[in-house]
């Protein structure tokens, strides 16, 4: 959301003017992402103290929790841009939403995998039906549903709008789903199995997670900017400026 608020609203709301802007910004965000992720990993794997109960294996939390945060955040952002595209009938907002989805799904996937990697040494099983993992699984289905729906509809504007309705329905449902799964988890398993981080959270652990989260955020922006450029080229391929762009590159 920060990328368009920094500049005048109208100037960059057309795909044609956004394309070069995205191209300029993207390497900066990628560099920031690299630096922040490296810092986060450093803090997480080298600086943060060993946990009393779980030893070294808990360190996966520095990937698992930020990835889970990003997966939720991206869905909300995707829902927002989708909604804007639906209400204001702007093409670029919908393209941004389409570009966000694979990154969001990726983080959901990372959260699930890192959860499994955590579960194995800690509890001996590759999968644990705790509240967060189960919610992440359902969130993954929501992302896949969004991408599948957009892929199945041929007309791009219809795909944009249908995706927007679905994303908004998802945004309304996510708190409900999260709450339901939370309730379901505590009922069936009690407090014993939980991936909520170690009860005493050292300051360095929190710092590490925040830095990683920022790094992931920068990565998301970089990846989305790169992807939205592809989406713009594909959707606007009949316009003169795209023909010139592609012609100039070959």
């Amino acid at each position: 959301m920060s990328k368009s608020q920094r500049f005048s609203w109208f100037v960059f709301s057309s795909p044609q003017s956004f394309y070069p802007l995205a191209g300029t910004l993207q390497p900066w965000f990628a560099a920031l992402a690299f630096l922040l992720c490296a810092a986060g990993l450093y803090i997480g794997f080298l600086v943060a103290p060993t946990d009393a109960q779980q030893g070294e294996s808990y360190r996966i939390i520095f990937i698992h929790v930020p990835a889970a945060w990003m997966s939720m955040f991206i869905y909300l952002v995707m829902g927002f841009w989708s909604g804007v595209g639906l209400v204001l009938n702007t093409r670029l907002s919908s393209m941004v939403a389409t570009a966000l989805a694979p990154t969001g799904a990726l983080f959901t996937f990372i959260a699930l995998w890192s959860g499994a990697l955590w579960g194995k040494p800690t509890w001996g099983t590759w999968w644990v039906w705790d509240a967060r993992l189960t919610s992440e699984l359902i969130l993954l289905f929501l992302y896949i549903g969004f991408m599948a729906l957009q892929a199945a509809i041929d007309d791009p504007r219809r795909a944009d709008k249908a995706g927007a309705v679905l994303a908004l329905v998802g945004v309304v449902n996510i708190p409900i789903i999260y709450f339901s799964v939370q309730w379901w988890s505590t009922l069936h398993q009690g407090a014993s199995v939980s991936m909520k981080s170690a009860p005493t959270m050292a300051a360095t652990m929190l710092l590490g997670m925040l830095v990683m989260a920022l790094g992931f955020w920068m990565y998301s922006i970089a990846a989305t900017l790169a992807r939205v450029r592809c989406v713009i080229l594909e959707r606007e391929r009949h316009t003169d400026w795209v023909a010139a762009e592609i012609g100039g590159q070959s």
């Binding site: 041929d154 007309d155 791009p156 009949h238």
Partner: protein, 214 residues
């Protein structure tokens, strides 16, 4: 009463037409012509309010139809390519639903009169799936016989699948609708013998609108 201003329609990646403007007044017939695929059906669907034009606007009695879609829908009857008949309902039941959704009284007597106008009253109790193509078209068109009070009739290829007798009957019905000030928009590949105050022609291929005094 119906005014189109610089309509543009883009389906998928093709621009079917642009900068299309015309005005349709009371008692006038608008005939949309053009080769297959030139956008006739798309134009009609834009005129119904089902599809938004990619540019330009449509106005009914001076107000944009986007603003008051329901109100506008009450002022039109659309009969498209598909007959909008449920196979498992009888002709009578189909017509009743159509009338009820159109806000008209749906008593059986009125429905039978409508069916009779097109010579399919004997099909009233038959399910639509056993009727022939022509009979189904007539049942679909029977709705028009019930809708003299609805000002705008939008018809997509109404004459298809009709025999000579039915064609004459439909032309009579259209003339009767136009005389007191009704409006008709239709697409057709054949010549229409209808009495109207004026017949407009929008030829999407030539992309020109010519006014022919009837």
């Amino acid at each position: 009463m119906l005014e189109a201003r610089r309509l543009e329609c883009t389906r998928g990646e093709r621009r079917l037409f642009s900068e299309l403007s015309f005005k349709l007044g009371r008692g006038q017939l608008l005939r949309v012509a053009g080769a297959n695929g030139s956008g006739k059906t798309s134009l009609l669907r834009i005129m119904c309010g089902l599809v938004a034009p990619s540019a330009g606007e449509l106005r009914w009695r001076g107000r944009p139809i986007r603003a008051e879609r329901e109100e506008y829908s009450r002022n039109l009857v659309f009969i498209g390519h598909l007959n909008a008949l449920k196979d498992d309902l009888t002709a009578l039941e189909n017509l009743q639903i159509a009338a009820a959704l159109g806000g008209m009284p749906a008593d059986a007597g009125r429905m039978l009169a409508g069916l009779d106008r097109f010579g399919v009253a004997h099909c009233a109790e038959l399910p639509a799936k056993v009727l022939s193509q022509g009979q189904r078209r007539r049942v679909a068109l029977a709705r028009l016989a019930l809708s003299p009070a609805v000002p705008l009739w939008i018809l997509d290829e109404p004459f298809s699948a009709l025999d000579v007798g039915a064609v004459v009957e439909l032309e009579r019905l259209l003339s009767a609708h136009l005389a007191p000030g009704g409006m008709v928009v239709l697409t057709t590949h054949q010549e229409v013998q209808v009495v109207a105050h004026a017949v407009l022609r929008v030829d999407l291929d030539a992309h020109a609108a010519a006014l022919l005094a009837a």
